[in-house]
Each structure stands twice: as C-alpha cells, then as structure tokens.
C-alpha cells in the first residue's frame, strides 16, 4: 500500500506528505515516476501557484496524460488539493484563460477586486485564513467532521462547478458561493489545505486513507 503524492514540480509537497505520514503507517512517497504513480494504491494531486504554470509543468513532466487516464479509469482514490482541485475542471480564467484537465464540468473564476462584505468591511484577495465549509452532500471523507468546520485557505481563484452533484462542500466569501469541495467516483478534491487545517484537516486525510470507493 503506497500513497503517491504526484510531484510535477509545483509547490511544497513536504507538508502534505508529513501530514499523511502522521495519520497512516502506509508508505507515503513524493514521486514523478509514472510507474510509481500507476502502482500506488492512492494518489494525491497537489498544486500551488499560477494554474498556467501547474498545467505547463504537468505537461512538461509528461504526467498530464497519465493523470487524465487515472482520473478516467476510476481505479483508485485520488485527492486533489488547492490548484490540484482547480485543475480537474474545464477551464480557469487565471493567466488570461487556461484549459485544464476537464474531468469535471465547470470553471475556475477570480474573486474580483475591491470586494466589500455585507457590513462594508473590505475583503482581501487572496482569500487567506480559516473559513467555514458547509457540507453540501454526504461523503465518507466528511466522517467525524462537523458541518461548517473551518479549514485553512489561500487562494484568489475558486471553482464554480457545473453540476450540483459534484459539489460536496461550499464556502461563502464576499457573497460568492465557492465550490471548495468537489468530486465524483474515486475523486475528491478540496480548495483548502487539509495538511494545514489542524484536527479537521488530519481527520479528512485519515478518511481519505481509509476510503474505499
């Protein structure tokens, strides 16, 4: 049993690997070797920074085709995190428009500038910090996590999923209904950082490790 954190060159993968090691005795590996990725029992698709760079690096490391195949095969659980969630959708408006993996219908949008809350408070972008996630549909990865629990976010773009059935959790920011938890079949993806979200984040990772879709 090996959990592979897919390393296509974007971002800090050590945090997520350390958090997984904290909740499981299974082997956790950070890898870009296609055979190791294929052979793993579970996959984590992380992502940080600009989506154009993430998609570009996935292409350059020749992992794009493999990741798409694995998504379509639905043979093993995959957890997308942050830009790793956004990449699953059709297109992002970041960087002037970037085509993504298109595993799920929907797009990735910017929060906008000069946002105000209902009480007139200025809202910052990136959306950074601990926000509530409302659970839209039941899912085994929500086991032991309260509806409305807070998770740690850092992002300026958010997912607007095309199908209600793909949305497992949402967060309100600046009146925007951000679809921060999405998935289908063996795929579950979150905008927030479970590896940095204290107890509830670790619970979600543990649920992922135990998930048998």
């Amino acid at each position: 049993m090996t959990i592979a954190v897919i390393d296509y060159g974007m971002g800090n993968l050590h945090s997520v690997a350390k958090a997984l090691e904290h909740v499981t005795h299974e082997n956790v590996t950070i890898t870009r070797d296609p055979r190791a990725i294929r052979g793993a029992s579970r996959l984590v698709l992380p992502g940080q920074g600009a989506i154009r760079d993430c998609m570009g690096e996935l292409e350059r490391t020749e992992l794009r085709g493999l990741v798409s195949e694995l998504l379509d095969e639905q043979a093993k659980p995959l957890l997308g995190i942050c830009v790793g969630q956004q990449m699953l959708f059709e297109r992002s408006e970041e960087n002037g428009g970037v085509d993504c993996l298109g595993f799920l219908p929907g797009r990735v949008r910017h929060f906008g500038r000069g946002l105000l809350s209902t009480d007139g408070e200025r809202l910052k972008v990136p959306h950074m910090g601990w926000n509530r996630v409302v659970q839209r549909h039941a899912h085994p990865l929500w086991d032991g996590i309260e509806d409305g629990a807070r998770f740690y976010f850092v992002h300026s773009y958010y997912v607007e999923a095309g199908l209600e059935g793909d949305i497992f959790g949402a967060t309100d920011y600046a009146g925007v209904d951000a679809h921060v938890v999405t998935g289908r079949g063996t795929v579950f993806a979150v905008q927030f950082h479970p590896e940095k979200s204290a107890r509830d984040g670790l619970q979600l990772l543990e649920n992922f490790v135990n998930w048998a879709p």
Binding site: G11, N12, H14, S15, K18, A19, H22, Q48, G49, A50, R113, S117, T118, D119, E121, R122, L123, K124, V125, P126, H127, M128, G129, W130, N131, R132, R150, Y152, V154, H155, T171, D172, Y173, H193, E195, K196, S197, A198, G201, L202
Partner: protein
Amino acid sequence: MTLAKRIIPCLDVDAGRVVKGVNFLGIRDAGDPVEIAKRYNQQGADEITFLDITASHEDRDTTVEMVERIAGEVFIPLTVGGGIRRCEDIRTMLNAGADKVSINTAAVTNPDFVREAAERFGSQCIVVAIDAKRVSGDDEAPRWEIFTHGGRRPTGLDAVEWARKMVAYGAGELLLTSMDRDGTKAGFDIGVTRAISDAVEVPVIASGGVGNLDHLVAGVREGGADAVLAASIFHFGEYTIPDAKRYMAEHGLEMRL
C-alpha cells in the same frame, strides 16, 4: 462574512531556543520551540511564526532542524522569518516544512528579491515584513518610514508606498510591525495599520505593542488587520490563545473557536 481573523503567536528563536521566555504550566522545557509550538497548536493558534534571530551562521542548521521537527508535529501554517536573503534560503525552509517565509531586510536592500521569490515559489508563501516608525510630528499629517536593524536605521522609504510596492512585487501578505510600539505593551499603532491595510489588497498582520486583549480587538476593528501577532502576552501565560479568541469573538469578531 465567515472568514476568521487569525491569532498568530510568534516564537523568537536564537540558536534553537525560544528567547524572551515562555511560561506554560506543565511544560518541561520552556525554551524548546517544538514543545512551545505544539502547545500553541493545542490551544488553537491559527498559525505560528518562527522568527530566527540567530546571529551566527553556523546555528542556521539548528533552525532548519527545528522547523523540520515543528512541521512534523504541528499541522497549521508555519511562517519562518529571519535571515531569508536568497532563493536558496526559501527553498531550504520550504523543504524543511515551512509554509511561508517572511522577508525583511533583504526586501529593503534588494526589492527584486521579493519579485524573484514570488515568481519562483508563488505569492502565497511570500510574506514581507515591514518595520515602520512614525516620523511626522504630532501636529503634522501622520507619516511612517521603513526602518531596518531593529528600528535603528532609517531608510527614507515611506511605509505606505513601500507596502504598495511590495504587493506589486508579489508579496502575498504583509507583517507590519510598529517599531514605536514593539515591546511597549501600549497597543498596536492603529494609524499605520489602518493606512497600510487600506492601501493594499493582500492580508495584513498587525504586530508590535500588544499588552492586553483590547489591543487585539482594536488591531482588527480599528486598524483593519486580518491577523494579529503577539509574543509576550501569550508566552508569559497572561492570556491563553482561547482567552484571546473568546474575547475577540465577544467583541463581534469572527474567530475560529
């Protein structure tokens, strides 16, 4: 509005030991950054900032080891500051498990470093630390300048302009310390906090001068800060993190309780 305001305890670490002292009931070693970080994590801190004030270069390895140990046990965001001068320093800290680095003096001496760092690692992990000091007289319109070397060396840079510039260069967050207030327990400098918070789109962490819980409330409410950083009020057990969070929540602020 459900995004919580953050409370960030800060550990000043010299050669692998927390200085300024920390008093926790039941803690075996009040100088070990790992034990102290764990304790703050248990108390519900929203993030932890680790400020390396080590003078000698040799002790930097100790810092990396400390960051590794904290990151292996504490699963909330960890920012490491102090001595971040080159992209290699950032790489080293991120590899050790830091989530963000805080750049201070190097941003002043070489602003392009911030741009390079943000391009290479992403704005989300680049915090620029701004040490500001009021330079205008009481009867003048308020003006603050950037100071380096613990507030001793003026740079002539206007703090608000500098904040805007650092965000334009890619800073994802600003850590604003009032050098007039740091260590005074007289409260944040609300004027500079508000001026900078209104000037930039990115989150601002207020720091310097916290002496009681009303100061934390004022930093957010009047200063417009998104997060508050404090050391001594938590270290000496005057207040716990839950005390501070409850108090801020009672004053109408959204907190992660």
